[in-house]
Symmetry: C2
Subunit: 242 residues, 2 copies
């Protein structure tokens, strides 16, 4: 009996119609479908494929032991996550050892700031792993603004909202186009950094890109409420255009 394969399936930004033809086909043929979710939630990735998982397929929810309850800097955070990923790998390899393929659902693109990477690094060399790239959340976000994000020789910088404020501000001032991800409770810090960098007036906030609840608004009109973790800030480049 041959070993099964783990497929890291990029689902794209949220609209199931934006999954790749290959991801769509692999999902519709899947017998085992695994996905991350926060404990007690149905799961963002699982939500994208609602109605697409074949009848009879088994589902393997992988529930994060912590998300934002412990600060990233706490050694307990790394320890808890590390044990969690090891446990996920045990569950996946139990299936692949039995010759079964498993599809792991990944929001956006699996190799771009995704949790799947932590499985990939632990599976590689042991189990065949195939990664299917996806449309990134940021592509969904800038498309939602109705404006191109980069022109000509524009430099694009992708920043996590979890970075320190002064580093955010420095990099925001030193790039043509900007994408800021992991917004959520960092929105006030990000807003201050955009002001320092004199980019605030050109920033857009995109929530739920490509999904039914999609909302793309210039940041100055968006208000100061807490935004979803998966919202994205975009500042468009203004480079060369004939």
């Amino acid at each position: 009996m041959s070993t099964g394969t783990v497929y890291g399936l990029g689902l794209g930004p949220g609209d199931p119609d934006l999954m790749s033809v290959r991801a769509d086909r692999l999902l519709r043929q899947a017998r085992h479908v695994a996905y991350f979710r926060k404990a007690g939630r149905s799961g963002q990735a699982r939500g994208i494929v609602d109605g697409l998982i074949p009848e009879g397929a088994t589902e393997l929810p992988m529930e994060y032991p912590v998300t934002t309850e412990i600060p990233l800097s706490d050694p307990g955070y790394n320890a808890a996550l590390s044990a969690f990923y090891a446990d996920c790998v045990t569950r996946l390899t139990a299936l692949t050892d039995a010759g079964e393929d498993v599809v792991v659902l990944c929001e956006g693109d699996p190799f771009f700031y995704g949790s799947f990477m932590h499985l990939h690094s632990r599976l590689t060399g042991t189990v065949p792993v195939v990664v299917v790239p996806g449309i990134t959340g940021m592509s969904g976000a800038w498309t939602a603004t109705g404006q191109p994000v980069t022109w000509g020789d524009d430099v694009l910088t992708v920043l996590m909202g979890t970075l320190p404020e002064d580093e955010l501000a420095r990099r925001m001032a030193d790039s043509n186009a900007l994408v800021v991800m992991k917004i959520g409770r960092n929105i006030e810090k990000i807003t201050r950094a955009l002001h320092s960098a004199e980019r605030y007036d050109d920033a857009w906030l995109i929530e739920y890109a490509t999904m039914d609840a999609q909302k793309a608004t210039p940041l100055r009109e968006a208000g100061t409420g807490v935004t979803p973790y998966f919202s994205i800030v975009v500042v468009h480049g203004q480079g060369r255009r004939p």
Copy 2:
């Protein structure tokens, strides 16, 4: 009679299986398919969809009047391109005025360094335009390396190989993860900049990502020959990983 719509269709990095379900469907239903190409060539975007254009659909090749024959800095370059895009718009609106929808093929993602943006800016406000995001060429490229490009709080910088060497080097040294596009005849300059920034040993060169001819090699093993214009250099981030 209502006005037709122009669809900017992100085709993804090259493998037609990586088109989105929506792009695939729109293409298979298309009656008019437009695409850019270099004069005398069959066209990169057109190549991706070979065999997918419905029988009886009309094709509208849009041939660049110049590509690399005139330097970008020459005012003649902008003038020639500007007249060209205006002419493309005339051809597209002749169809939409007659109530016909037109699909414009776009490699990668239409709003990410794409030629379609120059049509989009000229059509918006006049003709309904719908943009379908795609998997970027850079996603195809880092997937081809078999390694995630960004972890944790990594900063990703996307640079065009057309930038000056000192600016390339400065930004290469100041980012965790790197993507360099528009390589082609800039490969020697890019290589020198990677050396200055002490990133050369970690750089990968990816040619023809996701296509049959795909080749992903550490740059130091890749040799110094001229690479295709659409090749991509990737330096992976090494950020936080539990």
